[in-house]
């Protein structure tokens, strides 16, 4: 039963994709291979996840730094830990800034972005320094509350009066276009939840069971397809690329005549406050754990310093950047993550082989 914690990071990464510009990028390439990218992502993403999990479960209760300790030279393991840590810290930072833009745009246009960033960063920094177990418990509590609302929003979107299946059918014409690496890397983000095992594996002191692993490709496919197709069904094949906050606008195009709140978008924003904060906390937690592992033995002391530096850096970058740059950063991040993930899985599979 405790195995269920294995799936929460997956669900979290799947949910956060609408904030992380995944649908915007996929929709931009809807005539240039987004379909095939989704298909490949489902196959490759779940294969990588399967291989990685199968290796990691040979080391119950050990994170990446502990596994590397006796098997790799100190320098190499430090470099890998540091770059992976940085990768996750940047992910959290991008989501944090992206969400504060959304909050400023749709919740409170008059709030200065500095204040908004400050509030979000304080909460995330605090949460990121908690123990791995606490983060896991937190994600369970939050996901139980919000998943019904997410399912409801999806259902509501398909029920929409103006939902146009023909528009979706038009995009199927381009189903066999070869995707660019960029699109593929973006689509694969939905499956990146397994990467959290590099730190969260410390929590799994037992052998993770893979009996229910089929849930990963299934939920991933549902998420990716609906992330990509529902905006097209509602905004049409052409106008859909004009929207910057694609999913916020899609949800704002839904109407609930008999609800307490007519605009469905407020349910969505409420859900995404929780999802974003949870994702930021988890990714910063992973980031700080990995980076602090470089300082052997004294890692506890450095944790706060690292989180503080990350917070200040995010705050600075959030003030300076704009949406155009942020989307570009996100796109680059997907690409880098894609390559690092491939290398990491390869490395881990080799290490796992040698152990046997």
């Amino acid at each position: 039963m405790m195995n269920r914690y294995y799936f929460y990071p997956f669900i979290l990464c799947m949910l956060v994709n609408t904030i992380f510009y995944v649908p915007v990028i996929l929709v931009e390439y809807r005539f240039q291979g987004a379909w095939l990218a989704i298909l490949f992502a489902i196959v490759f993403g779940s294969t990588l996840a399967y291989l990685f999990t199968r290796t990691m479960r040979q080391f119950p209760g050990q994170g990446l730094p502990e596994i590397f300790e006796q098997r790799l030279p100190v320098m190499l393991s430090s470099v890998i830990s540091f770059s992976l840590g940085l990768l996750w810290i940047v992910a959290g930072g991008v989501v944090l800034i992206a969400f504060s833009y959304i909050a400023k745009m749709f919740l409170n246009p008059s709030i200065p972005i500095e204040q908004l960033l400050f509030c979000l960063i304080i909460v995330s920094c605090y949460a990121a320094t908690r123990s791995t177990a606490a983060i896991n418990y937190l994600s369970e509590i939050i996901l139980i509350f919000i998943l019904p609302i997410v399912v409801f929003i999806l259902f509501k979107a398909l029920q929409s009066e103006t939902f146009e299946w023909n528009a979706i059918m038009v995009t199927t014409e381009y189903i066999f276009e070869i995707p660019s690496w960029n699109t593929l890397a973006t689509a694969m983000f939905c499956f990146t939840g397994y990467m959290t095992l590099i730190v969260l594996n410390r929590f799994f002191t037992w052998r993770i069971s893979l009996t229910h692993f089929w849930l990963v490709p299934v939920t991933g496919a549902i998420t990716l397809v609906s992330t990509f197709l529902i905006p097209i069904g509602i905004h049409g094949t052409q106008a859909v690329e004009n929207y910057l906050y694609l999913w916020v606008n899609t949800v704002d195009s839904l109407r609930m005549e008999f609800g307490f709140i007519e605009r469905v978008v407020f349910y969505y924003l409420m859900v995404y406050v929780a999802v974003s904060l949870l994702f930021i906390s988890m990714s910063w937690h992973i980031g700080t754990e990995l980076v602090s592992s470089i300082f052997r033995g004294q890692s506890k002391r450095y944790r706060w310093i690292i989180v503080g530096v990350v917070g200040i850096a995010t705050w600075w970058y959030g003030r300076l950047t704009n949406e155009k740059q942020l989307i570009m950063v996100a796109e680059q991040w997907f690409m880098i993550r894609f390559m690092m993930e491939l290398l990491l899985v390869l490395l881990m599979v080799l290490i796992g082989r040698r152990k046997q």
């Binding site: 409170n108 023909n166 528009a167 038009v170 014409e173 509602i234 052409q238 106008a239 704002d252």
Partner: protein
Amino acid sequence: MRRRLGVLFGVLFVLLLFGLSGCGFKDIDKRFFVVAIGIDQGKEKQYKVSLKLAIPTHRIEPGHAAFQIISQEADTISQALELLNSNVDKELDLGHSKIFIIGRNLANDEILTTTDWIFRGSDVQRIEYMALANPSAEEILEASPRSERVPADSLILSFGHEKIGSSLAVTEYLYDFYNRMFELGKDPFLPVVSKKGKSFEVNQVALFNKKELKMVIQPGQTELFSQLVRKPSNFVVSVKKDHLRYSLLIQSFTYRYQIQTPRQQPPILQMDIKVRGRIQEANQALFDKNWGEIERIAEKNIENRYKNLLESMQKHQIDPIGFGLHYMARNHYGKKEWELWQEIYSKMKFNITVDLEIESTGIIK
């Protein structure tokens, strides 16, 4: 150490509480809620923006809807709004605006530029209704029927499905209009709100191609149009043949169509419509007659009216129902599909068959 940290956090949290000064630093009593937005062509400047503001009152009674209309001319809409904001003593809040009306004069080839402001702004709901005003948006905003309980209530309710749906008021939302402005093979339309005495009526629909207003559908065709693009609602069909006259209330309406492109022959749009209805009035007893014959008269009537509607839309080369999108969804010829479709559409023949079923003749024979 731990305790001191705890105390520090406690103090910090209490300090944070002072930051909570209410609704985005502007309290609800410092805001004016805009319930409807209207844009007209200005006399001196380019645009005239009119806003209907709700004045909060403690009693809600029919005929006592308190509102205020402010309007301002300017060359851009955002400029007009800024000027308007300085005219009133409170902050204008567009988040509760439910309907956006464009003056008839602005329905020209600049319509996308005119409406850019509303599509770009994040404070306006995407599910806002959109309509065309005849003659001007300002006059429609000023109209307040005597039954109105809340400002602009009657205007908003005309379009919602919550009330008994009128088949003459075709609903169009902001996001859907924007979608149709760009979509290949699906053209925009807007319901027309016309002034009538102290009130207004909604029974026409304006059809656009991507650039300008092409035709206006009159009552008699509006209800037929509304069945094709929106959720079907009840509508009345009155028929007459020889000595027989009767009216039907259509309660269920479903349709499907397919586009056939045989070689050497003009393309055909085969549309099958299935309707069920109840007789509402007749000039003679119908119960003992052959219902099949009676049905055939109405079928013929509906067939012809739909044919007229579709052919007149075809004549103007507009396609608000989305036949083009339907065609492109099912035929995969790559990029030249769109040109192919335009050629097909201009030559298309409409073949409509209606299958009508009378459910009852009411409570008398």
